[in-house]
């Protein structure tokens, strides 16, 4: 979009068109920024309507908040990393070692974008729960007393679920980028004696960096704000900021606290996002 702007920059005729931005901007301002401003305002106002920063500071120091903050960051960073890895591996195979039906499979993976996220958790309980297919199967086969696989109600369960739900967001742009990779480069590299792994590392990946960054940033935003999965797994140690907002606002009727956390959550999303873009930019995008 910056490119487009530059391309058209020379047309500096003072076009009346500059005002065309007003309608969509106004719509967004009304439907999004106005409520957002109210949330921010509420974060600094107590129930009686007085300005109040003390509550903000108190929340910042509360243990439940700090725990949730750490959980949110851990989970989103781990899940984003997972999405990048899974997306990359699947994308490489789909694009460069295709098999009959790989197109359909790619499409099927796309539909995971449409699933309400908590459903994956539901499915995971059936699969990996202590009485799920995997554990029940293992216990039956090896006549074990205790379920051998136990990660579902931990951070890792959440991360795995988020990887399932969000790796399509990495896969999509990656497949697009892979289709643009100059096949000549791959062939030139293999003629020069490079084996597949080296080609992936040195030829394909550098070309896919922008797509990885785009997909990764999307994942980061979505995982920081993920709600359904965490709500449904509902294990101790995986309370994240969005879940905290939910429970503060809904169950505990502490709307100001919910707003404070929301403000911090937004700042965190944008901050992590900015950091990621910055780091990725350094890596050469």
């Amino acid at each position: 979009m910056a490119d487009a702007a530059v391309l058209h920059a020379p047309m500096t005729r003072k076009v009346p068109g500059r005002f065309w931005i007003v309608p969509p901007a106004a719509l967004l301002a009304l439907l999004f920024f106005y409520p957002l401003v109210l949330i921010v305002q509420q974060a600094f106002t107590d129930d009686s309507g007085m300005a109040n920063v003390a509550e903000f500071v108190r929340v910042l120091h509360a243990r439940f908040f700090l725990n949730a903050l750490i959980n949110t960051i851990t989970i989103s960073v781990a899940a984003t990393a997972g999405c990048l890895i899974v997306g990359l591996v699947l994308g490489l195979i789909l694009a460069f070692v295709p098999f009959p039906g790989s197109g359909v499979i790619a499409r099927l993976i796309d539909t995971f974008i449409a699933l309400p996220t908590f459903l994956v958790t539901l499915a995971f309980t059936f699969l990996y729960g202590s009485a799920g297919m995997l554990n029940a199967g293992l216990m039956e086969i090896f006549s074990l007393q205790a379920p051998p696989v136990d990660f579902l109600y931990s951070t890792w369960g959440v991360v795995l679920a988020e990887v399932t739900v969000y790796s399509p967001f990495v896969l999509r742009p990656l497949l697009a980028a892979f289709s643009l990779v100059d096949r000549g480069q791959i062939e030139a590299a293999s003629v020069l004696g490079a084996r597949p792994f080296r080609i992936v590392r040195q030829v394909i990946l550098p070309a896919a960096v922008p797509a990885l960054i785009a997909g990764g940033s999307l994942c980061l935003l979505l995982t920081v704000n993920e709600f359904g999965i965490v709500l449904f797994i509902g294990a101790k140690g995986v309370i994240t900021l969005p879940l905290l907002i939910y429970s503060k606002a809904i169950q505990e009727s502490a709307y100001q606290v919910a707003c404070i956390i929301a403000v911090i959550n937004i700042a965190l999303s944008l901050g992590l996002f900015g950091l990621y873009r910055f780091a990725a930019g350094r890596l050469g995008a």
């Binding site: 910056a2 297919m133 597949p196 907002i245």
Partner: protein, 265 residues
């Protein structure tokens, strides 16, 4: 083309099958299986039944499908119009302003859905704009949550569009509006369709905000699925999920055909 030997390829495919199986196929299959399960307390269900589907269909399933589809369509359409409009209008701003506005249009994707729901409820339960208790507020919530994705997709498409087309069009005497309608938008169609597909899919799965704002008689699929599973009625929830998956898949495939036809012509 990367792996030359047949055993190597088979090994790679095995890795793929494993990843795909564990991450995607297994969950989907398990939901499908449980939607058909009679009781499921061992490794496998004790029996199969279509009872959950008939329950769901007798219940409010079709109303939920309709609510989800209408919400998805309207919210995505609004997001598409506003996102496309914004992306187009940003091109004629100067670079700095365009960058700043570009970030602003992106911010909605950084806000947790629960906050969006509550924020809207607070903001629009007051005059002059009373939206609570109406279907509109659901659309608005979905619109807010997907607008950034639509905007991003369309902007990306626009950046990829060669300026030649538009320049040739103006040199032939096409005024901006004519050019927009007959050249720019048709050429953007694949991106518009893709953007619509993504936002539609996101909207179909939205729960966090919808739960806070939905009006009577407008229970979307995720909300009904959640209330079923939340009361422990997992199998019916699974059946309804399969309905959601099927509806979305059909729609996405349909859109893809439209897009395919567009790019072919």
């Amino acid at each position: 083309m990367l792996v030359w030997s047949r055993p190597g390829r088979i090994l790679i495919w095995a890795v793929f099958a494993l990843l795909f199986g564990v991450l995607f196929l297994a969950p989907l299959a398990v939901i499908l299986l449980s939607s058909l399960a009679d009781q499921w307390n061992g490794v496998l269900p004790s029996g199969l039944t279509t009872e959950h589907y008939s329950d769901v269909v007798q219940g409010a399933a079709w109303k939920a499908v309709k609510a989800s589809l209408v919400t998805g369509f309207l919210a995505s359409a609004l997001a598409l119009v506003s996102g496309t409009w914004a992306a187009l209008a940003l091109r004629i701003q100067d670079a700095t302003l365009a960058r700043v506005l570009g970030v602003l249009f992106f911010i909605p994707s950084a806000v947790p859905s629960v906050s969006v729901g509550l924020g809207l409820l607070v903001a629009f339960s007051h005059p002059p704009l009373l939206l609570n208790g109406t279907i509109a507020i659901v659309m608005v919530a979905h619109f807010v949550l997907i607008s950034a994705f639509t905007f991003g997709n369309v902007s990306a498409g626009l950046a990829r569009l060669s300026p030649d087309f538009e320049q040739v069009a103006s040199s032939l005497g096409a005024r901006p509006a004519y050019r927009l309608w007959h050249v720019t938008l048709p050429l953007l169609t694949p991106y518009l369709v893709a953007a619509f597909g993504l936002s539609f899919a996101l909207s179909m799965g939205e729960l966090g905000a919808t739960v806070m704002v939905y009006p009577p008689g407008w229970v979307t699929l995720p909300v009904s699925i959640f209330s079923l599973t939340d009361r422990g009625d997992v199998f019916a929830g699974a059946a309804l999920t399969m309905v959601l998956v099927a509806v979305t898949l059909i729609l996405l495939l349909g859109l893809e055909r439209v897009a395919g036809r567009q790019t072919r012509s």
